[in-house]
């Protein structure tokens, strides 16, 4: 049941009239009303949005983007190697797993970039620890208690314009990635349920009673302020969700539901710049083909639906979807028709605003392995740095605590 139409919403929110007040040079920028609006809505990122997809469990990159042209691929994977109808060919060398038809469609449209052999020095093969490294963007021998998106909030909102939902995870609990040193994002799985919590009369009134106080030193002020921001965020998210704006068909799966929720929030002009979402179950030590295939199918189809929704409101060009997993898997298959924990892996980028498309670097080197695993060629923090600097317009070095050479896909 849609509470408002999009037109009603524009009237209600006052944005339609606000856009009339825009200076003329902005109006003349060419991309039309939507660009102007998104710039206004997302002041901290200049209208750009990032969606991070975490494939938990260690997705097998070699059976995602398949180096069909490398004989070593087939000699290492006599049963697990994909061939024939199990593949969608991208070029003379690479194919996609055929379960990724959704992603392949976007690829053919020039809306996907693939980066091979992404990782970090001294790779850790524990799910837990490696994910910690990816989320904190730390070196493998450092333990950092904040996440890279959280630190992006610290940096981007340092002028005081901060709302927790500028970075939102679609889950009940928030990952380390969204926890900064000072500021944090918000985790929302079910806006209605969260809204019911803030509508508890005493909690609601306590939140509303908060007024800015110069002294933020005491925990009391911090807690009350956090509650006030939470109440405001939950109301805002609840207000912009459930309007049934989506026209696309998403897979019947929690991941599909959450990606659809992101699409609808974007379609309702939510002020969120960074979304974070996970798809779990990629730890395929046994019977990999079915399990991974099913998940990749959900992933690809959900992504295609997402792109379709965003295109319908001209938002696909200013949205970037970045997909990673905590590690890739061993090149040689194991005895249970599965693969064990590995190291370097493929990363996928999708969006209408990619400057470079297709396969961006050399194929994974299946010959020079370390402990049976692919060696990394691209540090994952180079990709973070590129996204932070070139896409979100942020201080990448400050956020990542070091200098990482950027790439030019955005």
């Amino acid at each position: 049941m849609s509470k408002y139409s999009r037109k009603d919403f524009l009237k209600l929110s006052g944005l339609a009239s606000a856009s009339l007040l825009l200076p003329n040079f902005l109006k003349g920028m060419g991309a039309g009303t939507d660009l102007r609006m998104s710039e206004m809505l997302l002041p901290v990122t200049n209208g750009k949005r990032l969606v991070v997809i975490q494939l938990s469990g260690g997705n097998d990159g070699l059976n995602t983007v398949v180096p069909r042209g490398d004989d070593l691929y087939y000699s290492n994977r006599s049963g697990l190697g994909l061939k024939g109808a199990e593949l969608i060919n991208l070029d003379t060398y690479f194919s996609l797993n055929a379960k990724l038809q959704g992603l392949a469609d976007l690829y053919m449209n020039g809306e996907v970039a693939i980066i091979n052999s992404v990782g970090y020095p001294n790779p850790n093969r524990s799910h837990f620890r490696s994910l910690d490294i990816w989320q904190s963007a730390s070196d493998a021998d450092k333990y950092v208690q904040s996440g890279w998106i959280g630190r992006w909030l610290d940096s981007a909102c340092s002028n005081g314009d901060y709302k927790p939902y500028y970075a939102m995870e679609l889950d009940d609990a928030m990952s380390l990635a969204l926890k900064g040193n000072i500021l944090s994002g918000i985790a929302v799985s079910n806006p209605k349920r969260m809204n019911a919590m803030v509508e508890d009369p005493l909690i609601y009134k306590t939140a509303k009673a908060w007024t800015a106080h110069m002294d933020d030193e005491h925990h009391i002020e911090y807690l009350h302020k956090t509650l006030a921001q939470t109440e405001m965020s939950v109301q805002a998210i609840y207000d912009k969700s459930g309007r049934k704006l989506s026209k696309a068909i998403y897979p019947v799966h929690a991941f599909g539901k959450h990606l659809k929720m992101i699409a609808e929030l974007i379609m309702a002009d939510a002020e969120t710049s960074v979304f974070y979402i996970s798809l779990a179950g990629f730890d395929t030590h046994a019977g990999q083909k079915n399990q991974q295939g099913r998940l990749l199918n959900v992933y690809g189809n959900a992504l295609r639906a997402f792109a379709q929704d965003l295109k319908s409101v001209n938002r696909w060009n200013d949205t970037l979807v970045m997909t990673f997993s905590e590690f890739g898997r061993r090149v040689k298959q194991n005895a249970s028709a599965g693969t064990d924990h590995g190291a370097a892996n493929v990363m996928l980028l999708a969006g209408g605003g990619l400057k470079r498309k297709g396969i961006l670097n050399e194929a994974p080197d299946l010959k020079n392995l370390v402990d049976g695993d692919l060696q990394f060629k691209v540090d994952f923090r180079r990709i973070y740095a590129s996204v932070l600097k070139n896409w979100l317009g942020a201080d990448a070095n400050g956020i990542l605590g070091g200098t990482f050479e950027t790439m030019d896909f955005v």
């Binding site: 910690d132 929302v188 909690i203």
Partner: protein, 462 residues
């Protein structure tokens, strides 16, 4: 001691005031109360919930790294977790339990072997108020720690620096404080061959131990791991780092470096006597200074235990594990070896709202069924989006109702606030609380007043 000071002490040295404790300790001197808490903490009883895995004729449990063991281990760690929560709830030795919680966060370990985690837990349990020097020596030979920080891979010809690095960076000196990269490299060589054998016990493997000279902190010799630990214990930085952490946890999330320095010199001089340090803190006048009262954000586990102790809060095991997960602190699964950051890091929009909502679920006797995030090893369950399901929340308000039953209605709100909240009441409005109280019966009035106070952000401060 003053009643406010008693409540403050009980929040820090135990899991907060309960009617029974307050009745018993009210009117005693500070020294009497502190002695009582330490006497109660004196009793040590191992937590024994996980049976040792089956062994072969040689007492061996077989290769430690198999998926089967790891999967089973998650279930075992859950059992251990729940058993510990129960112990915290019922044990008289509250101070010992709080100290174990502190040490579990300090030597933050999450090795994928339930019974080895239990062994480590019982070591911390035994030494929680003993000698930190002894604890550090034992932990460096602890099987779960050796596996967790890869000392099992630390061999003569291929040293693994993980343990050597973290013992300096996180367990003693503090990051970048009083050691060099060279010290780490050389110390790692001293720990080579410190392994866990097939019986799941510490074993010194001489063949894998590097017997050449090592230079650590400027001392050259054929050092082994024991020497390195002793070197670390001679360094003042170790005492300072430990005392700063103790201060943050037990005194104030904001550190007073002068006090930390005083504590550190005492700790060092006493050869790291934890009992002496904690007694000294709880006996000091400055511990009761207004700026230190209500100045700590309660950890998720403490919050859960408080509800359990106060109103016999009970949900099924799955739900309880999900609470820990969603609030950000699952016992035996710290985020990494640096442990939980604590303080304001406990609080974000999601966790705060979740915390404030707990009293409502208790009053309503039901909550929405929560799901712990799936373990990495778990298969995708074809997760169809599900409708919200309800689970039962059990509670018993009898003790609290009885405690407040003689308080005149017009004083009830203030008395309840004074009982539960030690932080300044600057932002608390009694009138607002009273608007949300059910006054139909005296009993409902007491219960709903307490629940309302538990929903205040100040209830999160101890």
């Amino acid at each position: 001691m003053k009643i406010k000071e008693l409540h403050h002490l009980l929040y820090r040295a135990a899991f907060g005031p309960t009617p029974q404790m307050v009745k018993e300790l009210k009117g005693m001197t500070r020294e009497q109360v502190v002695n009582r808490l330490f006497d109660d903490a004196g009793r040590v009883q191992d937590l024994m919930i996980i049976p040792k895995p089956e062994t072969n004729g040689k007492g061996e449990v077989g290769p430690l790294k198999t998926i089967g063991l790891i999967l089973k281990s998650q279930k075992e760690k859950d059992l251990l977790n729940l058993a510990w929560i129960d112990r915290m709830t019922v044990a008289k030795a509250s101070l010992r339990e709080k100290m174990i919680l502190f040490w579990h966060n300090h030597f933050a370990t999450s090795a994928p072997f339930g019974w080895l985690m239990q062994v480590q837990h019982n070591t911390l349990r035994r030494l929680a108020l003993g000698s930190f020097a002894e604890m550090l020596h034992e932990i460096s030979k602890d099987p779960a720690m050796i596996i967790w920080l890869n000392n099992q891979q630390n061999k003569k010809n291929a040293p693994n620096e993980n343990f050597a690095r973290e013992v300096m960076e996180l367990f003693t000196l503090g990051e970048g404080n009083g050691y060099t990269e060279r010290d780490i490299k050389e110390a790692a060589r001293a720990f080579t061959g410190w392994f866990v054998n097939q019986k799941g016990e510490f074993e010194f493997n001489e063949k894998q131990h590097d017997v050449d000279n090592k230079t650590v902190f400027g001392n050259t010799g054929n050092w082994n791991g024991n020497h390195i630990i002793d070197f670390l214990l001679t360094k003042q930085e170790t005492a300072t780092y430990l005392c700063r952490k103790i201060y943050k946890t037990f005194v104030n999330n904001t550190v007073d470096e002068k006090r930390v320095a005083d504590l550190a010199s005492r700790f060092r001089t006493s050869n790291y006597n934890i009992d002496d340090l904690m007694r000294h803190i709880f006996m000091s006048d400055w511990f009761y200074a207004s700026e230190n009262i209500g100045a700590v954000i309660c950890s998720p586990v403490e919050l859960i235990v408080r509800f359990k102790k106060l109103v016999q809060f009970q949900v099924d095991d799955k739900q309880q594990l999900a609470y820990q997960d969603l609030l950000g602190q699952t016992l035996f699964s710290p985020p990494n070896v640096a442990g939980w950051k604590g303080g304001r890091a406990w609080i974000d929009s999601s966790t705060l709202l979740f915390r404030l909502n707990i009293p409502t679920t208790i009053i309503n006797s039901n909550a929405i069924k929560l799901n712990k995030r799936p373990a990495f090893e778990e298969k995708d369950r074809g997760e169809k989006p599900q409708k919200d399901q309800q689970v039962v929340v059990k509670s018993d308000w009898g003790v609290l109702v009885n405690y407040f039953k003689d308080v005149p209605a017009e004083q009830l709100t203030d008395e309840v606030i004074q009982f539960f909240i030690t932080a300044p009441a600057t932002r608390i409005s009694s009138a607002l609380i009273e608007q949300h109280v059910d006054t139909r019966t005296p009993q409902r009035r007491i219960i709903t007043t307490i629940a309302a106070v538990m929903k205040l952000p100040e209830f999160q401060l101890i």
